[in-house]
């Protein structure tokens, strides 16, 4: 079976600062991988590399068996043109820390935009499945509401519906609950838990230890641009072997 995500020695520099110092990991289909670690450890940068929002400087990164953002000719990598990168991204859904809903569009318009404009789905079909998705995230009564009139938790649930509307094989979550008021975190995690249950492949950067322990199949602990420890969340998060993992967990728990 091809891994959904396969990273081999991924390096990323911002100017002189090396943010990723050789990340290698593997996500199998239908797996939920949770990436934890202190801020500045490179976990957000890594998840953004998976759909080529950041270009990697060295190493290889495959999604479902295809190189991300590059074409290999002999030994050299050539960056793909904009159109090719865009096509590849239609298979990868992404949810951002700050929601990034399109402010000039209603919840429904946010969800149907990419299916209609990118996938050329007929409008009535796109609207029907968008309404179904909004119902699934519990927002059937907010279809015609603009993002500015929604709470953070509601906005994030629209953002999840928007990503799902493209029928992705893989969902990336970049700290999806970090910008939310504490009482709104639960409703978003609930939607994500539902996605995991129906077999969606997910990579989740999060500080929610409880979610990682209960929903995650693999937990990865990153620090200073490297993977420090990874494995079964019940092991990594309950009985960490590495000192850095231990000290991080003792601070957040």
């Amino acid at each position: 079976m091809t891994a959904m995500v396969l990273a081999e020695g991924v390096h990323k520099r911002f100017g002189r600062l090396e943010v990723l110092k050789g990340i290698s990991l593997e996500v199998q289909p239908a797996q939920v991988m949770c990436i934890l670690g202190p801020s500045g450890s490179g976990k957000t940068t890594f998840i953004r590399c998976i759909n080529h929002l950041e270009k990697i400087n060295a190493g290889r990164l495959w999604v479902d068996g295809e190189l991300v953002g590059y074409r290999q000719v002999g030994d050299k990598l050539h960056e793909l043109p904009d159109r090719e990168v865009a096509r590849k991204r239609t298979e990868i859904g992404m949810v951002f820390q700050r929601f990034n809903l399109f402010g000039h569009m209603t919840a429904l318009e946010n969800v149907v935009e990419a299916p209609i404009r990118v996938k050329k789905t007929p409008k009535d079909h796109a609207v029907r499945s968008a309404k179904e998705l909004l119902r699934r995230v519990g927002l059937e009564d907010k279809v015609d509401v603009y993002p500015s009139q929604l709470s953070g938790g509601q906005q994030q649930r629209v953002a999840i519906a928007r990503a799902l509307a493209m029928n992705p094989k893989l969902m990336l979550f970049d700290e999806p609950t970090s910008a939310l008021d504490p009482e709104l975190v639960g409703e978003v995690l609930e939607v994500m838990r539902g996605l995991a249950e129906i077999g969606m492949t997910m990579v989740v950067v999060t500080h929610e230890i409880g979610f990682a322990r209960e929903v995650g199949d693999v937990a990865v602990f990153m620090d200073d641009g490297v993977v420090v420890e990874s494995g079964d969340p019940k092991e990594v998060l309950v009985n960490p072997r590495n000192e850095r993992t231990k000290s991080f967990l003792s601070k957040v728990l």
Binding site: G93, F102, A114
Partner: protein
């Protein structure tokens, strides 16, 4: 004080208000007005379309593309618009014919420049190409005012750079672009009177021609100014509606036209009331 000024202006016979009233609907003035409006509309249309293209080019990651835009803006903002108007008017004597084809090879099309570039076309091109340089900076300001997360979310959904720009970034940039564009339209309304130099009889030039014969200088200038004021007023109302359209989804939106007039006609500040 405003009131006193108004009284003195109506009482003073030297203003000759009956003459003003007479010339307001003079056919030469109305023709001039029509030409001013046509010229403003056409050159602003060119300016806005060109401004969007130049702004998107300027923000391109390709240095050749953004460099080309930079050079265009540098040149057209850096030379007087009057010179540009006159230059376009005389382009026919510089290049009487333009042939499109391969140099020293076959020709595909042949253009008689002298017949094509009428004074109106020259004025429209000069004002429009010049305006494009200014509009591009206004559009660019609008584009960079939109949060980068919007572009990233669009890209993450598989939109190409151009599609994300057209569907996501530009519509939201409009909120920032519209007010200075309103300024530009109103300014163009009056700048377009420079076409008098190439003998186009716009509103102001028509007034000038009339008073050169009748010596009713002040009256005719008042006629022209009143027409400019009327056009500006209509444009301001139009701008209000356009702004309201692009404010959809934004916080604190949807004021009514009544609010607009309450604001405009609010005289309390003049009497020292604090709102």
């Amino acid at each position: 004080m405003t009131f006193a000024l108004a009284v003195s202006m109506t009482k003073n016979k030297n203003f000759g208000w009956s003459v003003v009233g007479h010339y307001m609907t003079d056919s030469r003035i109305l023709h001039g007005l029509l030409l001013t409006l046509e010229l403003t509309a056409a050159s602003m249309a060119i300016g806005i379309a060109l401004g969007i293209v130049l702004a998107v080019m300027r923000l391109s990651p390709n240095p050749l593309v953004s460099g080309a835009s930079w050079v265009y803006i540098w040149f057209f903002r850096g030379t007087p618009v009057l010179v540009q108007i006159i230059f376009w008017n005389y382009i026919g004597s510089l290049y009487p014919h333009i042939a499109i084809g391969i140099p020293l090879g076959p020709q595909f099309a042949h253009v008689n420049v002298q017949a094509l570039i009428t004074p109106f076309i020259a004025g429209m091109l000069a004002l429009g190409l010049n305006e494009g340089a200014y509009m591009s900076e206004i559009v660019r300001a609008g584009i960079i005012s939109v949060d980068e997360g919007q572009t990233e979310a669009a890209h993450a959904l598989g939109m190409t750079r151009l599609l994300a720009m057209r569907r996501i970034v530009l519509p939201q940039a409009m909120r920032v672009i519209i007010p200075p564009t309103g300024n530009e339209v109103i300014s163009m309304l009056k700048t377009s009177s420079l076409v008098a130099f190439i003998a186009l009889t716009d509103l102001l030039y028509s007034a000038t021609i009339i008073y050169a014969a009748t010596y009713q200088t002040i009256q005719l200038l008042i006629v022209a100014s009143l027409w400019y004021l009327i056009c500006t007023t209509v444009l301001s109302i139009g701008q209000y509606y356009v702004e309201r359209y692009y404010a959809r989804g934004a916080r604190g939106q949807a004021r009514t036209l009544q609010d607009f007039w309450l604001n405009v006609t609010d005289i309390r500040p003049f009497f020292g009331f604090r709102r």
